[in-house]
């Protein structure tokens, strides 16, 4: 059923086979993110971190053989719209999902926490842990030691589940392991995606109202930083009025690294102070570019000779997102 999932990530515009794979598994480079943004699939970043490349390749090959995807020089295109509609019926993409939710790890923590509370509540302290990952075990142990009481956690989880759609609560509970209890969940990809959706809905509630469900919110741990701290530092310094060169010197990172972080931040929708990045003359020249939707950066570079690759790419990103300030255009 992997084919049904993957088919939904392709469209009329050519998309690189590798780029889509790297997006799903969470490779966060500018080129992967930029392509993902243009293809409107950026929201699926990190959706499937455990997807093996060989499985991905086999599924794509199968889709090509079936004639629903076709190879072009610049990537794969969808050739059968109906097949895509059928795929969406077979496996629903979890639209509540966001990359910052950190669902893979939270899923494990929740599973282990529920087991620990269930076993301890039943007076059992030695049991085979439902999650073998050492890091997860340590995190849940620390969480528990903050003063978790089985009955208060059970009550909280109950009220949290009651705030979810019934089906979402059901699919999550079917994955639970507890004292003398094993959920009836299945291992297929459609279930995995339904579970991701349910977990995403649950995290959405936690994110909106941390106070209401404090123990579960603590277990979740808040929004996940999916980019390194350097990126935040760079954006902060830019906000304070430092130039790209000065930022690089201050943080001792290469100019190209500064540029990559800023482009990544822009792709992910962060607001950047454009005055510091585009001198007035250059900004004006970009405003005059004949076709603002031009995808070839070389073309724009020749139209704005005073600019560099960074500025062109940033211009393209902001144009695509509808965030390029249009006021100077006459």
């Amino acid at each position: 059923m992997l084919t049904a999932l993957l088919l939904q990530l392709f469209g009329d515009d050519p998309r690189r086979e590798t780029g889509v794979y790297l997006l799903l598994t969470g490779k966060r480079t500018v080129s992967v993110l930029y392509a993902g943004m243009r293809a409107h699939i950026l929201q699926w970043l990190l959706l499937y971190p455990t997807l093996a490349r060989t499985d991905y390749q086999a599924a794509i090959a199968q889709l090509i053989r079936a004639g629903v995807l076709a190879k072009t020089d610049s990537g794969l295109i969808l050739t059968d719209k109906n097949a895509q509609v059928r795929a969406a019926q077979a496996i629903q993409l979890p639209d509540a999902y966001r990359p910052w939710m950190g669902l893979t790890a939270f899923d494990q923590r929740l599973t282990l926490a529920v087991q620990a509370v269930s076993e301890n509540g039943a007076g059992v302290h030695h049991y085979r842990p439902a999650v073998s990952d050492w890091g997860v075990q340590q995190q849940v142990r620390r969480w528990y030691k903050q003063g978790i009481q089985p009955h208060t956690f059970a009550d909280e989880l109950q009220s949290l589940f009651a705030a979810l759609p019934q089906a979402a609560g059901d699919v999550l509970a079917a994955g639970f392991i507890g004292h003398e209890f094993v959920g009836s969940g299945q291992g297929d990809l459609a279930t995995q995606m339904r579970r991701t959706q349910a977990l995403a809905q649950l995290v959405t509630l936690l994110d909106e109202n941390t106070q209401k469900w404090p123990q579960t919110a603590a277990l979740w741990g808040g929004r996940q930083a999916i980019f390194p701290r350097t990126q935040t530092q760079i954006v902060d310094l830019l906000d304070q009025g430092f130039s790209r060169e000065a930022i690089g010197q201050r943080l001792r990172v290469r100019p190209s690294t500064v540029n990559e972080h800023l482009l990544t931040a822009a792709i992910m929708g962060q607001a950047l102070p454009l005055e510091g990045l585009f001198p007035a003359g250059v900004k004006g020249a970009f405003d005059q570019v004949p076709d603002a939707a031009e995808t070839n950066y070389q073309t724009i570079l020749t139209q704005v000779p005073a600019s560099d690759f960074f500025q062109v790419r940033l211009f393209q990103i902001l144009q695509f997102q509808g965030r390029w300030p249009e006021n100077d255009r006459s």
């Binding site: 269930s118 085979r128 439902a130 009955h151 109950q158 609560g169 059901d170 392991i177 003398e180 959920g183």
Partner: protein, 472 residues
């Protein structure tokens, strides 16, 4: 003198030792090296769990696979042992640093052979008293064997440097020359050896070659429905495992599938559903089995030709661990033979080796056995030329393993005798319930097993009532 029986009862809840356990434990306790060849499911792990709890110092256990490590850690945790940790490639750098800093706090350390070869890890271990050094799946040291793992070749040096009080090598199957490789390779000093028979008299050895894929499929479904109790069906393709599970579900069977493409949580869930009898047919790839210590599996069926008799013996050994009559079945169509020999002749070529050697960091965690093997050579310090030479030599070994498997399938006469002879074991006498076709008459003689238990409720409210019994 410690009362081992009392210890066994107290700490592990068993009333008696299984064959070989006491002898191996006593050897390690008196500081003697030991070699234990014990079939899977016969309690290999107790041989180091018990000494680990009796002696001061660290027990280091070398495991070839992360899944094996995770399973061993979970078993010890289930017994209430907290001072246990696995130092594997799945830890983040921060986690690994923490574990290394606190090594002295642990009683059991599970570690991959590659991790053990690292200088910093050895330096830390040299500062500790190692009471027992365990090499699990010790047959991985033998280049004659199908599971050869390059880093195992270096373990002898590691043992020499770490100077543990005693060394215990464990494996499920090892013909004579592999036993020799283990003793020499690890540098065991006059080891005590316990070698159990590979023969499992209570497992009927079914071998059936059918005309084509269609009749194979029909037979598979029929046999699965006819045999009562827990069953494991092995496939060499994930998709097939999924499809057959779905077909069995349609026929009213409690079936599930299991393979490495599933998330860790889904795998854990399905394995537990099988353990507690909520599911009684598992359609799996070879990823299923580790940590599955279910006593009453009544049928293990291979729907493809396993790569070796070692793998086959290990797989079917999951049947009938309670000693009651159970069955194994190797169900093959003509195309399966060709497919297997194609697998056995694929090995990485020189170009691929060169590419990976140039940038080994780019190819880790590719989930491709061929690439993983090359990575293993790199991690173990082999040069590109050595790797190519070793892999070329391995091709011949792989084909020899397959030939042994084919020889078994085509062996005239008793299949059990053919299997046992491969492991240099004493040949048993053929009986009516020994080997051949898995007919309805044979199936009728299989031991009864637990029926499928009621399923977990669907509604989350009902689930909460069951798992949070203490809540209102």
């Amino acid at each position: 003198m410690i009362d081992l029986d009392a210890m066994l009862q107290q700490k592990f809840g068993f009333s008696a030792f299984r064959p070989g356990q006491r002898e191996l434990i006593e050897a390690t306790l008196r500081g003697q090296d030991a070699l234990g060849i014990l079939p899977t499911g016969s309690g290999k792990t107790l041989c180091y769990q018990l000494p680990g709890r009796l002696q001061p110092g660290l027990v280091v256990v070398v495991e070839p696979l992360l899944a094996l490590m995770a399973d061993q850690v979970a078993r010890l945790q289930a017994r209430g042992e907290r001072r246990v940790v696995a130092l594997g490639s799945d830890l983040s750098p921060d986690e690994a640093r923490f574990v290394k800093m606190h090594l002295a706090d642990y009683r059991f350390l599970f570690i991959s052979p590659e991790m053990l070869l690292r200088g910093d890890v050895q330096a830390l271990l040299r500062q500790l008293t190692i009471s027992l050094f365990v090499v699990d799946e010790a047959h991985c040291i033998s280049q004659w064997g199908p599971d050869f793992r390059p880093a195992y070749l270096q373990l002898g040096n590691v043992i020499h440097a770490l100077k543990p009080r005693s060394v215990l090598a464990l494996t499920a199957t090892a013909p004579n020359r592999v036993q020799q490789d283990i003793v020499n390779g690890l540098g065991l000093r006059q080891p005590f050896a316990f070698i159990a028979s590979v023969d499992r008299p209570n497992i009927f050895m079914g071998v059936m070659q059918v005309a084509d894929a269609q009749s194979k499929h029909t037979d598979l479904l029929a046999v699965t429905q006819a045999v009562q109790g827990p069953k494991i069906l092995y496939f060499d393709r994930r998709q097939q495992a999924e499809e057959v599970a779905a077909q069995l579900q349609e026929k009213g069977q409690y079936a599930a599938f299991y393979h490495a493409g599933m998330t860790a949580s889904a795998r854990e869930l399905v394995a537990r559903q099988f353990m507690v009898d909520q599911v009684d047919v598992i359609c799996a790839t070879s990823a299923f089995g580790m940590g599955i210590d279910k006593p009453d599996v009544r049928l293990v069926c291979y729907t493809y030709l396993p790569e070796s008799l070692e793998a086959f013996t290990q797989g079917i050994g999951r049947a009938g661990r309670d000693g009651a009559q159970s069955a194994a079945l190797l169900l093959l169509a003509p195309a399966d033979m060709a497919r297997a020999s194609q697998f056995a002749s694929t090995l990485p070529d020189a170009k691929m080796i060169k590419t990976i050697f140039a940038h080994p960091e780019l190819y880790t965690k590719m989930n491709d056995p061929q690439i993983d093997l090359i990575e293993a050579y790199i991690q173990s310090g082999f040069s590109e030329a050595e790797t190519l030479a070793k892999l070329t030599a391995r091709l011949a070994e792989k084909q020899a393993s397959l030939q042994a498997m084919v020889g078994f399938v085509n062996a005239p006469g008793c299949k059990r005798a053919a299997l046992v002879a491969h492991f240099d074991d004493l040949v048993p006498t053929h009986t009516d319930l020994c080997c051949g076709e898995l007919t309805p008459a044979v199936i009728a003689q299989l031991a009864p097993a637990t029926a499928v238990k009621s399923q977990a409720p669907q509604a989350w409210q009902a689930v909460f009532k069951q798992i949070f019994t203490f809540a209102n």
